[in-house]
């Protein structure tokens, strides 16, 4: 079980993430969108959506820092464990609160506004459950294991485990002593990672940074292959007519 959770699941999730994204890009570029519901309701969204997105982006930055910056590095620049803990506690909590409040408002909007609720698919509902669970469990794990004076030092256990995944030699024993709340958060997080390509979360991979560098007006030439009627897709043959 230990090996499956901490030595197998991460790889399964990453494979699903990468393969799923490639699959989605090849076969469902048309479905690759934010599926915005703003044309139905705009007031609440204008507050809640930036709140949630900025919150979750800060949370992401926090995770990257916590997991991929080894303790030895921060020690080297003279940042001791206590200062680091306070930084992660206050910064993380602020970002987390922003994200939680944002998603709660978004969920309230989604449930109470009829057009928005009607535009919610089963896929969306599953995604919301996992997303909300991941965020809430993360907050809970952090807060229930911390006080101002000291907190659980995940940089001794979880972070090295994550880094060991990248060398393909997962050190599953590191996760043995980790508090249960952190463990649940990690599993839900991995599940969420695997879900990304198959839900609307895919829109995170189309952050349009290229907009900053391209000329304003885009010109494209006609595709000469598409002049006249289009040929049948591979594997499909016309019937009748």
């Amino acid at each position: 079980m230990k090996t499956l959770l901490w030595g197998g699941l991460p790889y399964i999730a990453v494979v699903l993430l990468i393969a799923g994204t490639v699959w989605r890009f090849r076969y469902d570029r048309f479905g690759w969108t934010t599926r915005s519901s703003q044309v139905y309701e705009s007031k609440l969204l204008n507050v809640a959506s930036p709140m949630f997105h900025y919150g979750i982006l800060f949370v992401l930055v926090g995770h990257l820092m916590g997991l991929f910056v080894p303790e030895s590095w921060t020690d080297a620049i003279g940042l001791n464990e206590h200062t680091y803990h306070l930084m992660s506690l206050y910064g993380g909590t602020a970002a987390g609160v922003l994200a939680v409040l944002g998603i709660l408002m978004l969920l309230y909007r989604r449930r109470t506004n009829t057009p928005v609720f009607k535009a919610t698919t089963g896929n969306d509902k599953v995604m919301y459950v996992v997303l909300l669970a991941a965020i809430v469990m993360g907050m809970w794990a952090k807060l229930s294991n911390s006080s101002v004076s000291e907190g659980y030092d995940y940089r001794q256990t979880i972070a090295p485990w994550v880094r060991s995944l990248f060398t393909l030699q997962p050190d599953v024993d590191l996760m043995a002593g980790v508090p249960l709340t952190y463990q649940i958060h990690a599993v839900i997080g991995l599940l969420l990672l695997a879900l990304i390509p198959f839900t609307r979360l895919i829109h995170m991979f189309s952050a349009p940074v290229q907009y900053l560098f391209r000329p304003y007006v885009v010109y494209r030439s006609r595709d000469p292959k598409q002049l006249g009627s289009r040929g049948d897709r591979r594997g499909w043959e016309r019937t009748g007519s």
Binding site: R29, F30, W32, T33, T34, R35, S36, S37, Q38, V39, Y40, E41, S42, L45, N46, S49, P50, F52, H53, Y54, T114, P115, K118, A119, H203, S206, P208, V209, Q210, Y211, L212, R214, Y216, V217, V218, Y219, R220, S221, R222, P224, K225, L227, G228, G231, D232, R234, G235, E237, R238, G240, S241
Partner: protein
């Protein structure tokens, strides 16, 4: 000089009777799908009126189009690139569906299924957005023919502008019955030379086609950020709320490519639409759009267009790979004639600085009837010229719509139309037309008669001069010419003997066009149960 070709449209507003045939046929062709219920790529507005979506011309609110920054450079009114990306998680300037109108259907089932009762069963309106019963309070065309103008007329942003300008002009815009005026304004996407929707799109999914200037949305590239809807000052990009993608008027490019006019043009009852090619200098667009004085924007845009008769332009066009028959089409283009030669057509809201390419001939009609009613000769040149400044439709109002408030070009256009009437009346009555009439508007007799032929006779082949896409590519498409792929790779060629993975016709074929014989043979083979003999023999 960097010449490019643009397929543009001119609409002769005098002829529009507001029948909405263009809107309906366009809707049937393009937007009769769920998610697009509220969308009309083509709509006909009664002016004065709020338009569709309501008050879309109020750019203080909707932030569409371009403006000049302090250094005099063009800047998207809704903010530059960085501001746009920072605000990508919501778009406060996005019109909601209710700003267009909430689409609905009727509960027809109740008509047959209602239990027996004292009351006659009715089909209640049901919202197509949330499925609930709804009160119908607005639609795409609620203020048609000034319906409710006494109440809503003052909300027209252009009326507000006219009233700000001058008391004298303000007095002319009235909504009391018998004092008011109206005309119809059919609108489609402007396919601008400097499109602010394309410039707003963070994904780069919107583009202007290099060959014909049509502005399109790449449905596979759109990620639903909705910035284009805000960016377009004409509000002619729409959000499909089912697919989560932007959609817009395509200028019926599949029809244009084979030489057919757009659906709205083809079905126009008043035959008021003109389609043709305009050559323009792409290098001059930004400079022209940055013209400081809003009144000068109309002239600046005229300066961007190239004269296809000029040999230098023709050489440059050839060097820029514009096909010969596109240049020829540009010479015969009715749109070029109306815009650049006769200068009777005017752009819609040049002050948005997008360089729109659907132009309008302002309406003159009511003036003749009005003059006749007062006992004057309604088609006498002197009477007509004098009357233009006291038109029922105030010049100031037309100017707010077509020339950023500059009355002179509107007056000049209307005077030309009036001169044409006086001139042609003389001919119809067998009199010698007075050359001073044509002279006074800077034209001569034959030129006026040419314009008359284009505007009044308006033959199909004069209205639509559309070079096909294929002709430009003909060399490549001709089977007899040297193909850009192996000559044995055509259907039934040696190179194509092998079956594809999913049967004989699967996989990619190299040459798209086949001879007529091959086409019919292939169709027979695909649609009949029995294999024809010749096919069996080959196998």
């Amino acid at each position: 000089m960097r010449p490019m070709a643009q397929v543009a449209m001119v609409m002769n507003l005098d002829k529009c009777i507001g029948c909405h045939t263009c809107s309906v046929t366009c809707k049937q062709a393009w937007t009769n799908r769920s998610g697009m219920e509220y969308v009309w790529f083509n709509n006909v507005e009664t002016r004065p009126g709020q338009g569709y979506p309501r008050r879309y011309e109020d750019q203080e609110k909707w932030r569409g189009g371009w403006e000049l920054n302090k250094r005099g450079a063009l800047k998207l009114r809704n903010g530059g690139r960085i501001k746009s990306l920072l605000g990508i998680f919501s778009n406060p300037k996005l019109p909601e569906i209710k700003d267009y109108y909430e689409p609905w259907t009727y509960d027809y089932k109740n008509l047959t299924d209602a239990p027996l009762g004292d009351d006659y069963p009715v089909a209640e309106p049901r919202s197509l957005i949330d499925g609930k019963p709804m009160k119908v309070e607005w639609s795409s065309n609620w203020d048609d023919n000034l319906g409710g103008a006494t109440e809503y007329g003052d909300l027209d942003p252009m009326v507000e502008k006219v009233r700000e300008q001058a008391q004298q002009a303000a007095d002319k815009v009235k909504f009391a019955f018998e004092q008011t005026f109206m005309f119809y304004l059919p609108r489609i996407c402007e396919h601008c030379l400097n499109p602010s929707c394309v410039s707003s799109c963070p994904s780069g999914a919107m583009y202007k086609r290099a060959e014909d200037g049509i502005v399109l949305v790449d449905q596979d590239g759109c990620r639903g950020w909705r910035k284009c809807v805000t960016g377009c000052p004409y509000k002619k990009v729409y959000f499909n709320h089912k697919t989560g993608k932007a959609e817009k008027c395509t200028l019926c490019y599949p029809r244009l490519e084979v030489g057919l006019p757009t659906v709205c043009s083809e079905t126009c009852v008043g035959r008021l639409r003109y389609l043709g090619v305009i050559l323009y200098d792409a290098d001059k667009v930004t400079e022209a759009a940055s013209t400081k004085d809003e009144h000068a924007l109309y002239e600046a845009q005229l300066g961007v267009f190239l004269d296809p008769e000029d040999p230098e332009v023709r050489r440059a066009a050839e060097a820029a790979d514009i096909p010969y028959d596109w240049v020829e089409a540009a010479r015969r283009s009715p749109v070029h004639a109306l815009i650049s030669k006769y200068k009777v057509a005017l752009p819609l809201h040049p002050e948005y600085r997008t360089m729109p390419m659907v132009w309008y001939i302002p309406p003159l009609s009511p003036v003749v009837d009005a003059l006749s009613e007062t006992g004057h000769d309604g088609e006498d040149a002197d009477n007509l010229f004098g009357a233009i400044d006291t038109l029922r439709i105030p010049l100031e109002y037309l100017a707010e719509i077509f020339t950023a408030g500059d009355v002179a070009p509107v007056r000049s256009s209307l005077t030309k139309l009036a001169a044409m009437r006086a001139h042609m009346r003389a001919i119809n009555l067998g009199e010698r037309p007075d050359p001073s009439v044509a002279d006074s508007v800077g034209m001569d007799g034959p030129e006026i008669e040419e314009m008359y032929r284009l505007l009044a006779i308006a033959k199909y082949e004069d209205r639509y001069v559309i070079p096909t896409a294929a002709v430009g590519d003909a060399k490549r498409l001709e089977e007899s010419a040297v193909p850009d792929a192996c000559s044995l790779d055509h259907v039934d060629g040696v190179g194509m003997r092998g079956d594809g993975p999913f049967g004989a016709d699967s996989g990619q074929k190299q040459l798209p066009l086949v001879t007529i014989e091959n086409f019919h043979a292939a169709r027979r083979r695909q649609t009949t149960d029995d294999e024809p003999d010749d096919v069996r023999e080959q196998q």
